[in-house]
Structure formats: C-alpha cells, structure tokens
Symmetry: D2
C-alpha cells in the first residue's frame, strides 16, 4: 500500500502555475512520484494531477488547506486532496444480471480495487449468494412504480449509515430519480451496454443487432440527470459478425462491460479522473 | 488472377438446399475452392456464397441460368452469378479531402483491388494531380444548391458512358438525391467518419470531441435514401484521449476511414457481400 | 439447451465431398442449423463442421458409424461426432493465481460454459474457498521435484475416477511430464501469459517489460510435449505504455488471460476446433 | 505551424527537479503549452518533455545552453532542445515493396509529417515513379554482396550532401552494416513486419503462418547493431484466421506496417521519443 497524497487541480490556464505548485511542494520536501497535466487550449483550462510520497513531507495534512490557500487564491484553483491510504467506501447497486457484480467483487478481493465495500443494494434477491461468498452485506430493496420515492429514501438511509463515498451501478436496471442523483455529483458510476452515444436508453444490444453494426461497445460514465448522457470515463468495443445472434451479443458484451466498468472504478478510486464540460480527463 | 465463378444465394431456409446446390455443382464437375453459408434463424433465411474453379466446369456460363432454373424455382432462390476474371468498373466521387482517394488509387495500382477505375468525379479540382499520377480520367463537376439536378444528370451521363458498375463516395461532401440513389441500389459505397449510428449527419468529429468519447470510429455502408442509414459493411474504431484535440481526431480518423473503406470496396469487388433487412452478411 | 449433433470432418480435398455429405444428411432428414468448411489449398486438405437438429433426424446415432462408413471410406475421412446435449467433463488445474479459475467458475455457473466440472486439482490449498463457493470438489496434490511422478499418478487416478474429458490449466505453474501429456492429446488447454511465440517459457511479463514492448498478449493452446509450442487456439493483446510497470502488466495481462482462456474452453466444448499441422481451425 | 521549443530531459530522479525547471522557464516568461514527465522508479530515472510557446519567451535560444547550464549541472541532466519550426530532413530507404513509401509520401504531402524529404535511396529502380509523383529526388544505388561497403559509402555521401537528419527504412530489404548504423544512433527508424520479439529476422509472415498465430503484428524501432533488437517505438496487431493464407497475411500486414511506421516517424519528428535502457518513452 502506498502512503501518498494526490492533488487534483483545475483552473484557468496561466503562466507560472506549474512553477508555483512545484515550488510549494518542493518547499515542503515532497517527493513527487507521479505528475501529469493537461491544457485544454480551447477552454483555456489547466488541469493537473500530482502524487507525492508522504514520507518526508513536512506539512501536516490538517494544515494543507491553510498553507495552500495563497496559491489557490492567486491562481483561482479548484482543487481536491486525497490520501491513497484512505480506502473510499463503495456501494454497489445491482439487479439480476450479476456478471459485473461478480467481477467487481473478485477484483476487490484480489486487491485490485483499493476500497471498502460495505454494502450491496439490489431490487432483486438473486445475487445474495455472491455477496455471501465475498462476505459483503446485502440489502434487498424492492422497487416498483409506486414505491420508488420510498425505496430511494431507504437506499439513501443505508448509504448514509454505511458512510458510503461513491456508488457503482453494476447493471442496476432502475432509473434513479433526479433528486437522488443530485446528492451524488460525479460519484455514481454507471455501465451502459453500448458505445454511447449510440443506442442510449433501453435494449441497446437488440437495437445494435437490428441495425447490423459490426462492433458492439460498452461505456462507463458518471450519472447525471439526463439518462446515459453523463461524462464518459471509459469505452471499449469488440467485433461481431453476422454469425452472432442477439444472445452472442449479450455474451460478448458482458465481457466488455466488466472490463470497462472495472477500469472506471479503479480510476475513480485512484483519484485519476477530473470532470469538466461534461467530459473527463483520466490521468495516466 | 483466379478463373472462378462466384454464386451468391439467398432464400427461405429449407431442408435439402445445400444438397441440391452441391449436387448441381458436382454434376457439372465444379471444383469448389470456397464455400460459406449462413442461416438467420430469426428471419428464416438461408444465405450462401460458393466459389468454384472454372477449369473443368462443364457447363457453359451462358447456359447456367437455364440449367440452374429448376433448383432456383423449387427453393425460391434469389441468386447472382459473377466471374472473378471480370473486373467491375468503379467510379470514385471525391471532394477536397483526398486521403481515401489516394489510398484507393494506391491499392488499385498495387493490385489489391481487382477492378477498373475509368472515372473520378469531383466537385472540386483539387485532387486532379492524384488522378494524373495514377493516370485515371478526372471530371470536375461543380455542384451548387442551384445546379444540383443538372450536376447529377451530368454525373449519370458520365457513369453510363464509362459503363460504371459501382460508385465509391471517398469523402464526397455532397448529399446525393433520392433519385440518383435509386439508380444504384447496393452499388454506392460511402465512408462515414463516425461509428454509426453515433454521430450520423454533419461534423461527426466535432460532435465526438464535444461529447468526450474515448474511441472514434468510421463506417462504410451502402447508400440508401435515408442519410447514413444504409446497410453497414464494415466499421472500426481507434482510441483517443483527452490529449487529442479536434485536429488529432481528424488525423486519427483519416487512418480509420481509409482502411474501413478499402475493406468494403474489396469485399464488394470479391462479391462477398449479401444485403438483407438493411444489414450485410460479409462472407469470409 | 440445443439438441443437435456436430460432425467434424477432415480429409484430402476432393470433388464431390460436400455433395456426398450433404446428401447423406438430407437422406436422413437432417435439418442443418450451421455448417462451415475450409479448404487448405497448400495442404490439400478439406475441413468441415456441420451441426444439425436431431429432431426429425431419422438415423439412430448408435447406427451413425455404420451408415456413414461408405462415405468415410470412399473419401478417406477422419471424423468425429458429438452431441450438444452431452456435457463434457472438465478438470481445472490451478496453482496460486486464481483469476482464471474464478473467471471459469463464474462463466460455468452463469451457463456460458456447457460442461460439468467434477474436479479442481491444485498444488496449493489457496483456492479452496473458490471451489467451495461454487460447490466444486477440490483436491490438493502437492508437487515437488521429488514426488512429481507420484503426484501425476494421483492426478491421473482422480481424472479417471471422475470420468474427465478434458483439462484446463488455469495458470497451473507446474510443467506436466511428456508421459502425462501423451494421455490427453488435444485435450489439455493451457493459457500462456504472452503473445506466443514471443516470450515462451518462464516470466513472460518481466521479459516483455524488459524488452519494452508496446503491447502484451495472452495465448491459449493445446498442450504438446514441447513447452508452449502446441496448436494455438486463441490470442489477444492489450496496449501498454512506459507508464505501466511490471505490476501493471500483470494486472492488465490477467484480464487478457481470462478472456482468451474462456474463449478457447468454450470453443472446445462446442466442438468448434480442428487441429492439423500443429495449428487450429476454429469454426465460427 | 507552431512556433514552440521542445525540451527533452533525462536525469537521475531527485527532489526539486520539476520546480527548478518550471522556475527557469517561468523566469523567462515561457508559456508552457504541453508538459509530460515520467519517473522510472526501478531505474531511478526522471524523464520529461516540455514544450512552450516562443512568443514572449525572453531568452534568445543561442543563449539557452549557457543560461540552462547551472540547472543542467546541478541535476546532472541530459537534455536536448529543438524548435518545432525547424523541419528535420528525412531520407527514405526503400527496396521493391512500396506501400510504406507511398504512405509516407502521401502523409508528408498532406502536411501530416512536418519534415523535408530531400532524398529517397533505393537498391531497385521500381519506386522511381512514386518519387516523381511527389517530386522527391530519387537515387538508385544497387547493393550486392560484393559492393556493400562501396554502396554504403555512396549512401553516406548522399546523406551528408543532403544534410539528412534521420533515416527511415521503409521496408528496405538490406541489412545495414554496424559501421553505418553507428553513424546514426537513434536516428534510423525501421519497420519490421512482425510483433517483435516474435519472428525477428527473415520471412516473418511465412513463419507466422506456419506457427498458426491468430494475430499478426508490425513493429517500428530504432536500428541498433543487433538485428531487430533496437528500442521499440510502436507496435500494433490485427486479427487473422485460418481462412487467411500467406498472401492475406502480407496484405493485412501491409496496412499495419504503414500505420505503425508513420506513427513512429511523426513522433520522432515531434521530438516525443526518449530512449533509455533499449526502450522508448513516447510522450503523449
């Protein structure tokens, strides 16, 4: 496990920015282990991720904000500091399809996803066995047209009680309300089983099959109030042919969904993602 | 150069079909060098491509239709016979972007595309030099809002005069009229610079950039009267990142367009493509 | 579940072959649901896979060999008949790395791999929990330099007792003896964590890292007596960059290994693979 | 065209490095348009590429070395400064296969490769027509076993006379002598038609065909004295199947070779490549 701090910064692009931040870290004896930056010329934006070893860093993190304030003010920075040693707390929402859930749980168990998973929420009891195999608490909350508000209130209460930091919709087949989503800005990750923006909405594999595409895709994105329209984190595709029927598309697509979703979750955990203009920058 | 015949067949799926066709060819001493078939269970369709060596084949091709008629009638076949020794005649339509044109001409010159190219038609004179380098006749026909009908009439006259069999729109930036298109069913191949159905219509790279997708694509398809909606022949994608600006997308996309279009053209020339239900079967 | 028969055929290429087989099946009222064939011109070989619905097929399968004998003799066929309703019995060999095992078990449980798994054999006890979660018998057989012959005898006894049809080495880190391998011709599937023939043998990821390749791969193949040299069933690659250290290669490679191995296993189960000249034909 | 400077730096990793370089540039009013860095923890190396707009930069470039010397000395930097406005001069070596040559010339003509091409050298006259179409001087220097030293001397004289900066071997089928190569360290780019290190040496497609691989590849690398062993710049692969014969591999591989080589050439021109430990870092 690494004992590092990660600083994500976005601000209007200006001369001297890199020097100012680099000097600040250097003055406090930071050993930078990774740094990446990006200028969006069209938007006039500067974006940066810098990660440094906390061994030898002479600024207590409780005093970081105060010490960093002059630079933050001068350059009009939006910034976020996180510690790689602190595991974020993930809640997984799932319905009946369990391939993404099984994949996330395996990766988490294998140490690939550095987080805690205090909670799985499902509108069906079907995946209980998987939660048990990995010893993760499972909550069944049925959702119908009539009880949706109630169900979401129950979900929110659970999320709060378990101190959840972010949510992954692992093929959760219910549309969350705008109100729910507003509580979790850039903290709900969805996997959509198409190459967005193609086939947004319902039944993407069937529509891909009917359109006769030669590749199918999967897209992970942050959830916003507009369905399947949030900032895209990762996408990938796989080749199909006329020999593949709808069932083959579903099967081949499942492999995509797992890999694409797990990448997005890992990058989120590693604080690699910056969102702006409904897009993401994913720092390498 | 091969001296083979290619038979494309589609019909309602029925028992005995393969045996009937195989027996017919065997009785006439055909040496089958390639055969591929496909059943679309949902549509109840049988599709087949069979290619045989004409050396030793004892049925004169002028008598093929008559000899094959009993089977064709019994099994309600739609069929098409072509000879690999006969070069189809291709007209390329182009505007100012010349990467697809340059690529097609090079491949044709290198022997990769077994066709004649009696004609390049452009609404701009810019690519004349390429036509000259490869010694292909070039016709500049300006197209404006006002003269579109006239221009298309002139194009049609040229196509007829040059005995053209099929047309490739190599980033031709004019929308052809429905009337024009009806003359060339499944004989106009377009390259669209997106992963259809995403970003159909104008400016796909810009819209891809704005949406923040992580892959861009290209799609070759037969042209139908509905814009960017015809049967897809081939698609491919390439990865982009936040570091790629619009210009990078255009450049990376150009490499996709060339490869995807050239594959579609080659398969068309090789009589590998069957169209049904606004989809294609591309036999291996 | 399908109730079909699959016939795999290989023989010297000759005129009339397809007609003979098609007629045979037609005479017995077979409804062909899938057929694929391949001619290897250089080798003078004809290879075929044909699958038909057993509903309506009027030849009892116990009489198939006798009825098919005249054709088999005339055309010098090697052939193999299998029934899609019969689940082959798979034994998985594993060591400590458990990602391929977890993936296979999940796919099997999800119905993607139509087989029985009566046995997991491991030279380490570490993956016992996974076997338990999926309720598959687990046998720990320690292997050392000194007890290898004994250990293999114990493995063979277990395989026999469980009526195992084929073996998957899911990152099993022991080299099997030539004697063991000879008992299972084209019935042991291995996953090697490189793009063979590059980096055959030990530590492929480390050697890939040291060589500075830009893509890493995985290869599934049938095991022969020459290490990492058997007929390749499937391969795939993924992109890496200078930012990926050895640990990243291992992680990214694991995703390849799982997918590549599971494809090979599925194709083997579906009787899609023909082996000749130390290569495979994988029928679509 | 951009008016920027690019600084490539490699040195032992140390605290304060980034701050020192950032401050130096800031003091001279540099507007950084792109910066990327990499730490190789295992090797203890720091590598950086920084590009800044020369408009407003107040340090004359003839004085850069002197002004930068204190930092360079303190941190033990190896560095290289280049100007994006200066076109490097490229000589292309080619034999009979002309697909890579045609591709490079087209890209150069289209403005994708920002360089001058004062010279094409070939041991065969076959590609003269392409050189003429793009108005590039073409020199035919026959190479035999007996005249190799002489031929290389003539080549070197031409390279010198044309002030060539780097060489691209665009499927040049002669092995250059160690003596020749030593004159052009990290300045000769080769395209090898396999996924190195698989199938290094002669006839890679044939050997790939015989081995029965499921993907073929292409590799561009800097030429060193050990054949096909230099630092890899870029690689890519494409899928093949049993249906592809040797001729298909050659054709599909040609598309890979063109794209892979052209990427490597562009990155070299853009000063994106740092070489160390027989590997490359290609900055995004």
């Amino acid at each position: 496990m690494r004992n590092t701090a990660v600083l994500l910064v976005s601000c209007p692009d200006r001369k001297g920015l890199v020097a100012a931040i680099a000097n600040f870290l250097y003055r406090h004896n930071a050993n930078i282990v990774h740094a990446d930056q990006h200028q969006d010329g069209a938007a006039g934006l500067f974006l940066m991720r810098v990660e440094w070893d906390l061994a030898g860093f002479d600024l207590g993190l409780h005093r970081f904000e105060e010490a960093f304030a002059p630079i933050a003010t001068e350059y009009d920075l939006q910034w976020h500091l996180s510690l790689s040693s602190v595991k974020p707390r993930l809640a997984i929402f799932v319905s009946k399809y369990d391939h993404c859930l099984a994949d996330l749980l395996y990766r988490w168990h294998a140490g690939e996803l550095y987080c805690d998973i205090p909670l799985i929420v499902s509108n069906h009891p079907d995946t209980h066995w998987l939660a048990e195999a990995y010893k993760v608490p499972f909550q069944h909350i049925a959702v119908t047209k009539d009880n949706k508000a109630e169900a979401e209130a129950a979900q929110q209460a659970l999320l709060k009680a378990h101190h959840v930091d972010f949510i992954v919709l692992a093929r959760y087949m219910q549309v969350l309300s705008a109100d729910f989503i507003r509580h979790w800005p850039n903290r709900i990750i969805n996997i959509h089983h198409s190459f967005l923006p193609a086939f947004h909405g319902a039944k993407p594999y069937q529509r891909a099959y009917e359109r006769g595409v030669k590749l199918i895709g999967a897209t992970s994105h942050y959830v916003t109030e507009v369905l399947d329209d949030g900032p895209i984190i990762e996408q990938d595709v796989t080749r199909i042919s006329h020999r593949d029927d709808l069932e083959d598309l579903v099967r081949k697509g499942a492999d995509l969904e797992k890999v694409v979703l797990s990448r997005a979750v890992r990058w989120h955990i590693d604080n690699r993602i910056l969102v702006y203009a409904n897009k993401t920058v994913v720092f390498d």
